[in-house]
Symmetry: D2
Subunit: 262 residues, 4 copies
């Protein structure tokens, strides 16, 4: 065969299976989204529409890899996807799994952009990168997502206070001045600044900003119609988009908690 004398190069493709019996988390991050969000004039500190587009892209991943991805959590320009322990996708080949998830997400982000920003053209192709991390047990999975949600809280409280200082102060503060003002402050002080200076009650801000977004595959809530049907599938499941507390045990005891689906 014409190509056979070159086929030896295939021997350089080494196997890269992920260990069986462990959870996998794929986390993706926007590349250069600081500049990207400026170029597209995203609102500060949070652009709700841009976040909803991220959530849509995440749901696309969850939908396409339904049965393997059981939970996703996103904030800002990052999203994490949990794959169940018994996942056999691409025979657990690491590069296949991580690249396909990044590609699905990227593709959906660009594809659905016009639906979310009908009057704002995308100026160029945005991109993401990703990594795959393995967690042996349910506790570590919970702690991973708690870590991301704690990060959401810390960043959002800082950013909310920072941009309030910059945008709402009278006279306005420069970004440098705002950073100086916040240097060394703890959470309670930031809450106090927000409340006393700008009459903002942080806890009343949209939950999506404060708690990020959790996408889960949960049992369908049966409508009366479906309930009567005898032919419906045993366990229909649907994607749900939540903005709830996932630190602590309450969330994980709900049927939608993905880690149990192992």
């Amino acid at each position: 065969m014409a190509g056979s004398r070159f086929a030896y190069v295939r021997s350089f493709e080494l196997p890269d299976p992920v260990l069986p019996g462990v959870f996998m988390v794929v986390r993706i991050d926007g590349k250069g989204f600081h500049g990207f969000s400026q170029a597209h004039e995203f609102e500060k500190p949070n652009d709700a529409v841009a976040l909803e587009l991220m959530n849509h892209a995440a749901r696309h991943v969850c939908q396409e890899l339904r049965g393997d991805v059981t939970l996703a959590f996103g904030e800002s320009d990052e999203y994490s996807f949990l794959l169940k322990k018994s996942c056999k996708l691409y025979n657990r080949r690491e590069s296949k799994i991580v690249t396909h998830i990044v590609s699905l997400f990227t593709s959906a982000y660009v594809f659905y952009w016009p639906q979310y920003f009908p009057k704002k053209a995308l100026q160029g192709p945005p991109s993401f990168d990703g990594r795959l991390v393995v967690y042996p047990g349910v506790q570590e999975v919970k702690d991973y997502f708690a870590w991301r949600q704690a990060d959401t809280h810390i960043n959002n409280l800082y950013n909310t206070t920072f941009w309030s200082l910059v945008l709402l102060s009278n006279p306005p503060l420069s970004e440098r001045q705002a950073h100086e003002t916040l240097k060394g402050t703890v959470s309670s002080q930031k809450n106090e600044i927000l409340f006393s200076k700008f009459a903002i009650n942080y806890e009343r801000l949209p939950a999506m900003f404060r708690k990020g977004t959790t996408v889960v595959l949960a049992p369908t809530r049966p409508s009366s119609k479906v309930r009567k049907s005898k032919r419906r599938k045993a366990h229909p499941r649907e994607l749900r988009t939540l903005h709830v507390d996932i630190i602590g045990s309450a969330f994980w005891e709900e049927p939608e908690a993905g880690a149990k689906a192992a």
Copy 2:
């Protein structure tokens, strides 16, 4: 800090550096492009516009990672990117490199779709996967690309003959009959079928179909204007899109041969 008791989960992120001093090739493949090309009514056996879109996406990758990606080769729904030996991109972290390239390609593919198919809406987000393979020496790099181009030739000759039998025969052949006809035939026989039955001289078909597409970063051919300028940069380089023979030594002796840029 709020998140510190969860931060231990970071210790599960293991390092994944690629060996220094070796070439890296990232190959991406379309996922489910058989169905995708049917859904979008791509021409058989080759859709020139769809291939040009692939090439555009590849040039986007080459442009964004200019200085690291020195050569790319594509055919059908796959593309391979060569990273030079001394590449330090993301400190050679494997998952970062491979996911970012797949993301850049996917994003450009969706972003530039309307420019190539102004009258044909994308029906959903297409996706790709990727892998990174390491080659120690120049010879292996040449043989890798020779392997892909040999594959292009074999597939294209088969597909061209197959679709000629299906689309141009009188009476038309079913796909099954066409497969039967071609079973066990060698190249010369397929050439003969094309020529005797359909008056197609395979060698005269577009080079892009027969030889795939090679994108290289090559020295700019100076115009007389530029030549006179004293202020132009020492070694300006530009992307060139070629449809040439890359099996054999001639190509690699040209200044645009990327493997030398190690």
Copy 3:
């Protein structure tokens, strides 16, 4: 510095940390021990002295890596060592861990040989190889050791019957004839052959042959003297060498079950 221009070669030493939070098992195997056991005229089917030497070498490993290795199991010319989940030995660098265990075992095997075979000189340096396998949970660890003990049983029943046929039959059988005789037989048939032909009750054979050897680090059984002492360490532990059933839950509920020490 004299060596500094060569020091770049260190960059080729890639990190190889084992995932945190999982059990590690290092299994070592004798290289060419079929020939080695013939050359040293080991008894067939089991040489109790040679097995005791293996056990001694294993205890040396357990002793040297006390606190990290919590359980070991051996049969024939192989031994498996369990390292606890939280093990931090060599920062969990895989090659360090696996090579050091193989080296400790090999060294002890050669060093203690004269103590076990005072009248039989070692004819040359024996060698072993090893691998490290990762298990995420306690159940998989138990099943790993169950797998090795089941293997011990299967091999020993076969070998015992085989060598009885060869050595005790009258007239004696050739090895080929013995293999033929056993082809396709199940356990009960081999038990029957042993009992009816050679009056051997398999279950009465030494437990070390039938169940292999388990080395555990267990709490010291306090003597009355120690019990009275107020200054003894809180949890003194000592190595114990057992020939017991480790398939099933009973063993693992004992305090010496290493997997709990995670």
Copy 4:
């Protein structure tokens, strides 16, 4: 089969092939040899007999893996083994290669100890660890060995001067005083101390101490007898133990230079 329900644990044994087409270097190091050399009263700064035992152990590795290991270099309590590019040993499984080399070396070290120290009993089992490093090209291999030999020189010059100060000074210096004396000195100053204070011409010290030991597989120097023989094998090769300069090109141009055997 009895063990079949546990056999799934084998799926946790992941493949670990080394990339094809690259050189492999396995470096082993003594564990705790500082204490070991004190316990066995090795001469300071170098114990020629102990080094010869290391060399013997290295030759055992080279002999056993003849055809795969083409060069070895040792100093102090470390030894490096070069495996040729095309090496197929254990299908290039990393853990098999590195553990077997460490085991062969350890075994030979203990086995041959009495031959080198007939009057000094080994007090316990010594041990080593090892790692495998991959080098893509001949230049990097040469630089690796140059790096080790430069290290030999630096360490030996320091140690020779240090122990001269401690053992030969009148009145004797403490180890702390000797360290202080040498702090910040360059090579020429150490040479000067050796010469002026102790009449030691460093360059006249045994080459094994200054240049380490190189073991190569070289073509047999034919005796006149063999030359006449018509039946001798085409390319008989024998191990040679050298104490020569391997930094610089001269050594590598000799037929015994292992890297060429790729």
